[in-house]
């Protein structure tokens, strides 16, 4: 019955049937997307909206611009600078070394077993953060940490005399790298596996060397994935709170720590300022995503 109807429509008036079919299809697609939309509204849009509202309210709930004005104090500007530089350094470092490591196990000719071992370990290590991570690094590079003592006793080098400090900028970056690095490995490995051996062979057949291969083939193919991972690593470090707090005890004031102080501190309690600080973080992440999508569009231009 239906078949004959369809045939009749296909012969006589095929155009009226198409819109209704496509509308039906579209509706089902929307149903499929609904859980994601619900999730996005509940966990992204509502909290971000609450931040936006809270940033412009005083403790009594009246409208004020004081919280935003307070953001320009030196203390807070320095915290943003510190947060951004820690995130940039660890994102660049994590991306670079993570890439080299992922390349070594995928295309570098190492035994296949090492790759699965590394990927499994990376899955664990990329989630190893917070107090346990801080403790692991204190027992490694702290003043009486294993590496500090071994270097002092075997080589006569005291890294703390050389200017290293685990509880400062370098130490924090070194510690953050422990979860940045494996995250890069996890995300970039599938992209590296997508590089075909034939492309390299084709490049060599055409007289290209390793530099030509990377400059004109591999990097352009990988660039979108590299940029996306870089932004992810940046955001990952930017929002980290527990690791920095456990390691430095609040001495190194990154933005999440200041927000924490404003929310539950005895002295600095100012919820409105905490909202404004968090809003600032959202804006910085928004700007970095904007830069990312611009670069992404430029990097993907050769595909069109």
């Amino acid at each position: 019955m239906e078949t004959s109807g369809t045939r009749w429509q296909a012969e006589g008036a095929s155009s009226p049937v198409r819109p209704s079919q496509s509308r039906l299809k579209l509706n089902w697609n929307w149903v499929g997307v609904a859980p994601f939309l619900l999730f996005a509204v509940l966990f992204m849009i509502l909290p971000a909206g609450a931040l936006l509202v809270g940033a412009f309210q005083d403790p009594a709930g009246n409208f004020t611009l004081q919280n935003i004005r307070d953001l320009s104090s030196d203390y807070i500007v320095n915290a943003y600078k510190l947060s951004i530089s820690v995130s940039l350094v660890t994102a660049v470092g994590g991306a670079l070394f993570g890439f080299l490591l992922a390349y070594a196990v995928t295309l570098g000719g190492l035994p296949q077993g090492l790759k699965s071992a590394l990927l499994t370990f990376s899955g664990v290590a990329s989630n190893f953060a917070g107090v346990p991570l801080a403790f692991a690094f204190i027992s490694t590079f702290g003043r009486v940490g294993l590496v500090t003592i071994v270097l002092r006793d075997l080589l006569g080098v005291n890294i703390y005399d050389q200017g290293f400090n685990l509880y400062g900028f370098a130490g924090l970056c070194l510690t953050y790298m422990y979860f940045q690095f494996p995250l890069m490995v996890l995300i970039i490995t599938p992209s590296l596996e997508g590089l075909r051996r034939e492309w390299r062979e084709a490049c060599e057949n055409l007289g290209g060397n390793t530099w030509h291969y990377w400059r004109y083939i591999a990097l352009p193919v990988l660039m979108p994935a590299l940029l996306a991972t870089f932004v992810l690593l940046f955001g990952n470090a930017f929002g980290a709170y527990a690791t920095a707090y456990a390691l430095t005890g609040g001495m190194l004031a990154v933005v999440p720590i200041i927000i924490g102080m404003q929310i539950r501190g005895d002295v600095l309690f100012n919820e409105g300022l905490a909202y404004a600080l968090a809003l600032g973080m959202v804006i910085i992440m928004g700007i970095s995503i904007l830069i990312y999508s611009t670069l992404q569009a430029r990097a993907a231009r050769w595909r069109q």
Binding site: G109, A136, S139
Partner: protein, 42 residues
């Protein structure tokens, strides 16, 4: 081929050292609850 293999091993071994040292140091620390001896006391 051999050269690239060499660098792959270098990066891999550096990665292993970086990943494992904190874990070994933590284990070492946790065995030193009693002064001067290694024990499972903790």
């Amino acid at each position: 081929m051999k050269r690239s293999n060499f660098w792959s091993w270098v990066w891999f071994i550096l990665g292993v050292i970086y990943f494992l040292t904190p874990l070994i140091a933590t284990l070492n620390f946790s065995l030193r609850m009693k002064k001067g001896v290694l024990s499972f006391m903790a």
